[in-house]
């Protein structure tokens, strides 16, 4: 996964064992970013009620852009409207976007939303509250979380905290979702149940952006090779296959003259 991907500066730590599905984070985000009533940057995922009465369990966690280390959407975006800035935040330039929705398919976490209700829709996606960060504030979702289920800090801090929490609490799964998925992200999840049960997308650890680049970067080579090969064949056939051509030409010419 070379290509000099640097780890992001920030990280989220989201703990499904603490989330009570109050949805304050959802409302806060909508208010903070003036998001349309028909779209959202953050939403709840959960297990739904599991089991049979009375042996039941239920876990939820908010979900938003994972801010991948090597974002698939950034690699795929036709016009480069999605970019990863130097702090590792995946930001969206609403002025560039052409609404092709490639990012929606490229993102393995199924993150980008599009406000299809609008006549001229745009992508709706978490930007880690970049404006708030610049003012020294935490992201809106984190700042308002009643139970501390969403936490925010430097990437190292959050990862450390995640591992520590897991050690202290054996009820939590070993797997920290977001640590290695898609080549690594800035959002880490702790959960007492598997991420499958939380309805998180199953994402492999290799970077899909890297796979994409491996192929798209061959374009110049392919173009050059094609041009050269075609020229070569043409020249070869023109100067070494002339006699053959004349033979095949004639029967057709006679036929046309007859018609």
């Amino acid at each position: 996964m070379s290509d000099n991907i640097h780890k992001g500066k920030y990280g989220f730590l989201i703990d499904a064992s603490l989330c009570i599905d109050c949805r304050s984070c959802l409302v806060a985000c909508s208010a903070e970013h003036n998001v349309s009533m028909s779209s959202t940057r953050i939403w709840m995922k959960g297990t739904g009620v599991m089991g049979n009465f009375p042996d039941l369990s239920l876990y939820t966690a908010p979900f938003h852009c994972m801010h991948c280390d090597d974002p698939s959407c950034v690699s795929a975006c036709t016009v480069g409207a999605l970019q990863r800035n130097e702090d590792g935040i995946v930001v969206y330039d609403a002025h560039r976007c052409i609404g092709c929705r490639y990012c929606m398919y490229a993102c393995p976490f199924e993150v980008p939303n599009m406000n299809l209700q609008e006549q001229l829709p745009l992508i709706v996606k978490c930007d880690m509250c970049e404006d708030r960060l610049n003012q020294g504030l935490e992201p809106a979702c984190t700042a308002t979380c009643l139970t501390g289920a969403i936490q925010f800090g430097t990437r190292e801090e959050m990862l450390q905290k995640a591992h520590k929490r897991r050690e202290e609490n054996p009820d939590l799964c070993d797997h920290i979702y977001g640590e290695h998925e898609n080549g690594g992200t800035s959002t880490f999840y702790l959960s007492p149940v598997s991420c499958d049960e939380l309805c998180f997308p199953c994402v492999e650890t290799h970077s899909t952006a890297y796979s994409n680049r491996q192929v798209t970067h061959t374009t110049p080579t392919v173009a050059g090779a094609a041009a050269l090969t075609l020229s070569g064949i043409f020249l070869a056939l023109k100067y070494f296959g002339k006699s053959g051509d004349e033979k095949t030409d004639r029967p057709e010419e006679t036929k046309e003259k007859q018609a």
Partner: protein
């Protein structure tokens, strides 16, 4: 009533004023310069202004972010103990209440029939004149008692009460009997305080009886509970429904509705019969302690198993675990536990359990014998003459029918019923402020019938809610982000609610409305303040603090505050914890906490449970678009087997019938509820077409609720109604 303002127009209205100028018109000049100097607000009038939330009764401190004269974001105020820097979903959505396109922006006078929703806009002069005229007429013809006043408790309550007491009516309805009468009455009788404070710092064992803290959110307390669990505290939670709190509980007890008291009484029995409590310690504070084993002997876990459906072993074990945690065990008082008539006894049992653990006797323990509302701060108030004596009996039966219900709690549903019966006398007028009795009272049809009997109804409201829809005059109050309210004391700190933006349209604060109405009623002398700021200045007088500082910081901590009391005092007749209450005995009720059989559903009937969701505040917020965006669709919960028997699938329409009403609503089939129960979230099914987002969304359980009143506490038993459910074709 057509409201032609679209959401876009609305935001345009608010966005026009230049910042600093706007600021100058409602904050005294002294404040601006101080604020500017301290960097609180910049020269454009952009910045954070502290105030208080009003999206529920918890009243978190808020920092309102203002830009170009508009509120653009609300943050929790880290300085406020109720928010500690956080806001729940409702708190965060507050700006959409202020910018709701369905807000009433001008006084309205009804022109069509009641309930048609036809109003004409008018001036404040005319509206207030009409209200005063009608109120004076009623007073003259029928006496002041014929005018009813009701309001859900809020910061301007003192002036609301001032109005009604000055007017001379004894009839005062609050929401309390729909909420926590059972708890308050029980704790008043047992501890002498209205509500014990809770402390989660060291708690090890928490027993929650109902009180769905994860969904009936009190911002700071909800956070503290979850953190206690994270720290390792054990939560045992009693509820017939698997709520979000149940999901966080170490043990969820799916108890039969209305039988919590049996469970708790059995716990008490185990503890006292085996002397698990530290009796010597407890004996100092609890009267008749030695009689307890005999009194509670009959309440065995085996007996409780038959009633609650919970295995005796479990009850026994939990009782022991509770006792083992000693003073670090808390039986949470909640608001009304199972919401049955016997909830009073349940609360008495809770008070008993806390006494036995000794938590309330430990300074700084997890339960405190002082009310969270208690404070040593004494605010000033404007001078006023004494109130006239209200001679007539209260229509709500306090105290002549309900001898033990405190006057300030009342029995609201009784007042409504008295309108219909005309007994002991007929009421003729109703003045409502910040309340929606049409949605809140049980048996909505009855409430609407009662409204029909009124000669005159005036409502103070922010939005065209259901009660406003049936009013004769609607007086639009400014939203909480646009007004001053009397100061709010929490502990030994004083917090301010102040306008952060100019009021939309032609709206005013309740302080202003009550004073103006008072003037026209000839009650000027009772409202001796010039304006809101003058009122606040008078409140601040005995304290060391200026309004300017308070406006900037949002809080002052008066030096006169003395801090926490040393001694633990119980404000009961004996000065001790009265598990045995002579007062109850003399009133003809059981002096000990006792078991009362709740009604059982008949064949084919289900208990209809009511409850809250984390995204709404009762019936007040369904029109808020930000909350509507993220709410769960309102559906009636049915257990898988219950639904299967009736051939019902999720999202099918079902007809729900109770002895007093009928509704049609969508179903949700789930495992998360007992098979003998159905559940509906409270507050949906609005009738007011003036609520374009909320209108006809879901159905209202208040159409189904039968009015059951506890004779001791006056509490309404909202979950005691049983219903039949069948698929609607």
């Amino acid at each position: 009533m057509k409201n032609s303002i679209s959401r876009r127009d609305f935001l345009k209205i608010t966005g026009n004023t230049a910042g600093a100028l706007a600021l100058g018109s409602f904050i005294p000049p002294e404040v601006i310069s101080t604020a500017l100097e301290s960097g609180f607000i910049d020269s454009q009038g952009n910045g954070y202004i502290p105030t208080l939330c009003e999206m529920c009764v918890w009243r978190c401190g808020v920092l309102a972010k203002v830009q170009d004269g508009r509120v653009v974001k609300l943050e929790g105020n880290p300085e406020h103990p109720h928010s500690k820097g956080r806001l729940c979903a409702r708190g965060q959505s507050g700006l959409m209440t202020t910018y709701d396109p369905d807000r009433v922006l001008q006084p309205l006078v009804r022109v069509g029939k009641r309930g048609e929703g036809k109003f004409r806009k008018t001036s404040w002069e005319e509206a207030l004149d009409i209200v005063a005229e009608n109120m004076l007429q009623i007073k003259e013809k029928y006496g002041p008692e014929a005018m009813l006043f009701s309001s859900t408790h809020n910061l301007s309550q003192t002036q609301f009460e001032n109005l009604l007491f000055a007017y001379g009516s004894p009839n005062y309805g609050t929401q309390r009997s729909l909420c926590f009468n059972s708890m308050v009455t029980a704790f008043l009788l047992t501890y002498g305080i209205e509500e014990p404070s809770r402390n989660y710092d060291d708690v090890e064992f928490i027993l929650l009886t109902g009180r769905n803290l994860a969904e009936a959110i009190s911002t700071s307390e909800t956070g503290e509970l979850i953190n206690a669990i994270k720290r390792g505290a054990k939560l045992v939670y009693l509820d017939p429904r698997f709520t979000k709190t149940a999901a966080k509980a170490e043990e969820w007890i799916p108890i039969r509705p209305g039988t919590d008291a049996a469970f708790l009484l059995a716990m008490i029995q185990v503890i006292v019969s085996e002397e698990l409590a530290d009796c010597d310690f407890v004996r100092q504070y609890v009267d008749h302690c030695d009689d307890m084993p005999e009194v509670f002997k009959k309440y065995t876990p085996e007996w409780a198993e038959g009633i609650t459906g919970i295995p005796a072993k479990t009850i026994d074990r939990i009782a022991r675990e509770y006792a083992a945690a000693k003073q670090n065990a808390m039986a949470h008082p909640g608001w009304r536990t199972s919401n049955f008539v016997n909830s009073f006894q349940t609360e008495r049992a809770i008070a008993t359990l806390n006494a036995l653990s000794g938590n309330v006797l430990t300074p700084g323990g997890c339960l405190g014998a002082e009310s969270p509302e208690a404070s040593s701060v004494r605010l000033g108030k404007p001078p006023q003459p004494a109130y006239p004596r209200a001679v007539a009996k209260r229509l709500d039966g306090v105290p002549w029918k309900y001898p033990l219900v405190p006057l300030k709690l009342g029995v609201f549903q009784e007042m409504r019923d008295a309108i219909l019966t005309g007994d002991p006398y007929q009421a003729h007028g109703w003045f409502v402020s910040r309340q929606n009795p049409v949605q809140a009272l049980p048996d909505r049809n009855r409430t609407l019938q009662a409204l029909e009997k009124m000669d005159f109804i005036a409502v103070v409201d922010v939005i065209m809610n259901d009660t406003s829809w049936y009013a004769d005059v609607v007086l639009p109050e400014s939203s909480y982000l646009e007004r001053y309210d009397p100061l709010h004391v929490v502990g030994d700190e004083v917090f301010i609610r102040q306008p952060v933006i100019e009021p939309q349209g032609d709206t005013h604060s309740a302080l202003w409305i009550y004073k103006e109405l008072g003037k026209r009623l000839g009650l000027e002398d009772y409202f001796q303040y010039q304006d809101e700021e003058d009122y606040l200045l008078q409140q601040l007088e005995p304290l060391d603090g200026s309004l300017a500082t308070l406006s900037i910081n949002g809080v002052i901590k008066p030096e006169s505050a003395s801090g926490k009391k040393e001694e633990i005092v119980f404000n009961t007749p004996t000065g001790k914890i009265e598990i045995y209450s002579e007062t109850l005995g003399r009133a003809g009720f059981s002096p000990w906490p006792t078991w009362e059989d709740p009604p059982l559903p008949a064949e084919g009937e289900l208990y209809l449970l009511s409850g809250k969701v984390g995204q709404h505040t009762q019936s007040a917020t369904q029109n808020n678009q930000l909350l509507h965006k993220y709410e769960d669709k309102p559906r009636i919960w049915l257990h898988t087997s219950t639904a299967a028997e009736r051939n019902i699938k999720t999202d099918d329409y079902v007809r729900v019938t109770s002895p007093v009403g009928e509704i049609v609503v969508r179903a949700l089939v789930t495992e998360a509820i007992r098979s003998d129960c159905a559940f509906m979230a409270f507050g949906y099914g609005h009738r007011s077409k003036g609520l374009r987002t909320a209108y006809a969304n879901g159905a209202s359980d208040s159409d189904l609720h039968v009015t059951f009143t506890d004779p001791i506490s006056g509490g309404q038993a909202l979950s005691q109604t049983c219903v039949t459910v069948k698929k609607e074709d």
